[in-house]
């Protein structure tokens, strides 16, 4: 928060604030919240595109149907793996990369330009790219592993449930390390140099400096970007969708690809129910996460 006190609130200022906020609020209300509310209402209706002659309210029937579906629970478990493993690897590798790139060296700019490249691509493209590389017949990964003698026959990476999940996670890590590297680098640069100098004067080692100066200083940033990243990984299924479509046998289905299937199946009622469940889960998680990290911070 800014240091000086905020100016007192007068009608003139209220008008200014309202005018400044109006465009943003209007957009979000009209194009995000209004459709979401209507979509949520559908969750309580029988609303199937293939028969719209009647769309009666059916209470919680769609929710019951979804919760009774074993695939929903599989998708939920997969979501845990997908988000957890992807996030952990992205974070660790991204952090490592950011640390290595902290100091200036010759060609750093060029290096960054190349290494940050995946950031410019979409999940959809990245899914296709890796789908092509993981192809069981003509995929380059099989070819390389065969040449290196690691495997003896081609693996149907995207065809075997365990491998499929591993494959999509690899693609996702490849994609997401950049995000963390950029964000963490940014955060590292925000640590005032004087703090290090002071620590050095006190004779603290590099490792101690890291634990006692760097980490506490960038902690709030880390907390926030991790939360944002979790939401993103979960809510943007384009990578999985273009890479495996959730297959094989639901082996890479996460809650959001499951949701897409409901929409594709034309059942907007069930889609609404899944959507609300996902939203509820994310909200609950965000509140829990922020409470835990905040109380952690104040206890320090």
């Amino acid at each position: 928060m800014s240091v000086s006190a905020r100016p007192a609130f007068t009608p003139r200022k209220a008008l200014f604030v309202a005018l400044c906020l109006l465009p943003g609020v209007a957009f979000v209300a009209l194009f995000t919240y209004w459709p979401m509310v209507r979509g949520s209402v559908m969750a309580f209706q029988r609303y199937n595109l293939f028969d719209l002659t009647e769309t009666p309210f059916v209470g919680l029937e769609n929710f019951r149907a979804v919760l009774a579906e074993p695939r929903f629970w599989t998708a939920l478990r997969n979501t845990g793996t997908w988000v957890g493993v992807s996030l952990a690897l992205q974070f660790l590798l991204g952090f490592g990369l950011a640390l290595l790139l902290r100091r200036h060296f010759r060609g750093r700019g060029l290096y960054q330009a190349w290494v940050f490249f995946p950031w410019a691509m979409s999940g959809f493209l990245i899914g296709l790219l890796w789908r092509w590389m993981f192809n069981g017949q003509f995929g380059v990964i099989n070819d390389l592993l065969l040449k290196a003698g690691v495997i003896e026959e081609r693996i149907g990476f995207l065809a075997t449930p365990g491998w499929a999940m591993t494959s999509v996670i690899i693609a996702n890590v490849w994609y997401g390390v950049t995000f963390f590297a950029i964000m963490i680098m940014a955060a590292l640069q925000s640590v005032p140099r004087e703090l290090y100098e002071a620590a050095a004067v006190d004779g603290a080692s590099k490792v101690r400096q890291f634990w006692h100066v760097t980490l506490p200083h960038i902690r709030p940033t880390l907390t926030l970007i991790v939360l944002l990243r979790i939401i993103w990984i979960l809510n943007f299924p384009d990578l999985i969708y273009s890479m495996t479509g959730g297959g094989p046998a639901g082996g890479t289905d996460i809650v959001t690809t499951f949701l897409i299937q409901q929409v594709t199946g034309g059942d907007y009622g069930r889609a609404g129910a899944v959507g609300l469940l996902v939203l509820g889960l994310l909200l609950a998680f965000a509140i829990f996460y922020l409470t835990v990290t905040r109380s952690d911070e104040t206890s320090r």
Binding site: F50, D51, T53, I155, A159, G245, P248, A249, V263
Partner: protein, 421 residues
């Protein structure tokens, strides 16, 4: 830097204010029709566009805009547009969307005998045109029926006549990076399981409602169904690429055309794909039969229809009729290698020779039975999605033959109750 950003800010806002697409209705006495296709592919789109150009030439003052959504979401897109009740005049209707489009009141009735072209259609085409609710909501443009494609140079003297023979032949072909059979375990895979189960049920099956037996039980309830599904899994495990657990249409065709697999069961449009791939030593045969000598399959179809809310009904109807006249429909059937709708085409050598012979042979065999699937039951689209997943679960060992059949049996028994049978 600063000026660049500011310039970008202002310039783009200005440019955007003046742009938008002018794809709406009539302007200056000209009629603009909007038409959407479903089973899209680049070659097909090109062909349709050239047919549309002919139509525009023959009908000055009418322009047609063709919308070609990607295949995998095309029907959803069409449904979505229909739901808004505007912005569409002519559309592709498929056998499994016809019922729901008609139910929602989105399709206009087309003239039948009042249109001279009607008499030029084959009896099958006439029958399918009025299949939904007895009303002519579409004119089919062609039919799909499956045949067995096989390599003649992989040590097989004659094509397998039964599923058991196919399994044995496929196993012999497998090895050295080659596989016997282009399996479909991904989207649409359950259809192949159902096809085998149908064949194994033999004469007991009711062709008019092909998921049921003549005694009203489902085809999934019999011991023969279990035999069929066991063999289905064996063909996958012992004679198909492991990757094929997720193969859909493109992969299975690619697998055969690129020489990875030795046999493929598919629709006639594959003839063209395989011919173009440069593969030489291959032939076709009717689909394999069950132990009692029967094979069942539906005849797939799709056609052109007119929306109920079009503002240019006369022109839209004219377009559908134009596309369904023999000259155009035969061109279309040839371009996509479909079974044609024009009576006249039956004497056309292209549809009776070479790879097409298998289809003629099947048509003449009384034990190759054409069926009607319960596409008009409320749970049909749900089953399409669910059953594919069940098949994948079965192939990856997450469930068993007995469990899959039990759930399918329960599903269709329930469906029968819902429609009051």
């Amino acid at each position: 830097m600063r000026s660049a950003v500011l310039a970008a800010l202002s310039a783009t806002t200005l440019v955007l204010a003046g742009c938008g697409s002018g794809s709406s209705s009539s302007s200056g006495g000209e009629v603009r029709l909007r038409m959407i296709e479903s089973l899209t592919s680049p070659d097909r789109t090109k062909l349709i566009k050239s047919l549309l150009a002919d139509f525009e030439k023959a009908n000055p003052g009418v322009k047609v805009e063709l919308v070609s959504p990607p295949l995998d979401s095309a029907d959803q897109k069409i449904t979505q547009i229909l739901q808004t009740g505007k912005g569409l005049d002519v559309l592709e209707v498929r056998d499994h969307t016809a019922k729901s489009f008609a139910n929602n009141g989105w399709l206009a009735e087309l003239p039948t005998t009042a249109w001279p072209g009607w008499a030029e259609l084959t009896p099958l085409a006439q029958k399918k045109a009025v299949e939904v609710g007895g009303k002519p909501y579409l004119i089919p443009y062609g039919f799909y029926q499956r045949a067995l494609f096989y390599r003649t140079d992989w040590g097989m003297s004659a094509p397998p006549a039964t599923w058991q023979e196919l399994y044995e032949a496929a196993r012999k072909m497998t090895g050295d990076g080659r596989y016997g059979y282009s399996f479909r375990g991904g989207k649409g895979g359950a259809d192949y399981a159902v096809q085998m189960i149908s064949a194994y049920n033999g004469e007991a099956l009711d062709p008019e409602k092909s998921f049921y037996l003549k005694d009203k039980r489902t085809i999934f309830s019999t011991p023969q169904a279990a035999q069929a599904l066991e063999l289905f899994v064996k063909i996958f495990k012992e004679a198909s690429p492991p990757d094929s657990v997720s193969w859909g249409y493109p992969e299975m065709v690619q697998g055969f055309a690129s020489g990875v697999t030795g046999m493929l069961i598919q629709d006639p449009e594959v003839i063209k794909t395989v011919e173009e791939s440069g593969l030489r030593n291959w032939s076709t045969a009717p689909i394999p039969k069950g132990p009692t000598g029967y094979a069942f399959q539906p005849v797939g179809y799709a056609g052109w229809g007119v929306t109920s809310f079009t503002r240019h009904k006369a022109e839209a109807t004219k377009l559908v009729q134009f596309l369904s006249e023999p000259a155009q429909s035969i061109r279309f059937a040839k371009g996509n290698s479909l079974i044609p709708i024009a009576k006249r085409a039956q004497s056309d050598p292209q549809f009776s020779q070479g790879a097409w012979k298998a289809y003629l042979e099947a048509q003449q065999d009384p034990k190759q039975v054409i069926t009607i699937r319960p596409v008009d039951y409320p749970g049909w689209s749900q089953f399409l999605v669910d059953s594919d997943r069940d098949v994948q679960s079965l192939l990856t060992g997450k469930t068993t033959v007995a469990e899959v059949l039990k759930s399918w049996d329960a599903f269709w028994t329930d469906q029968a109750r819902k429609v009051g049978e």
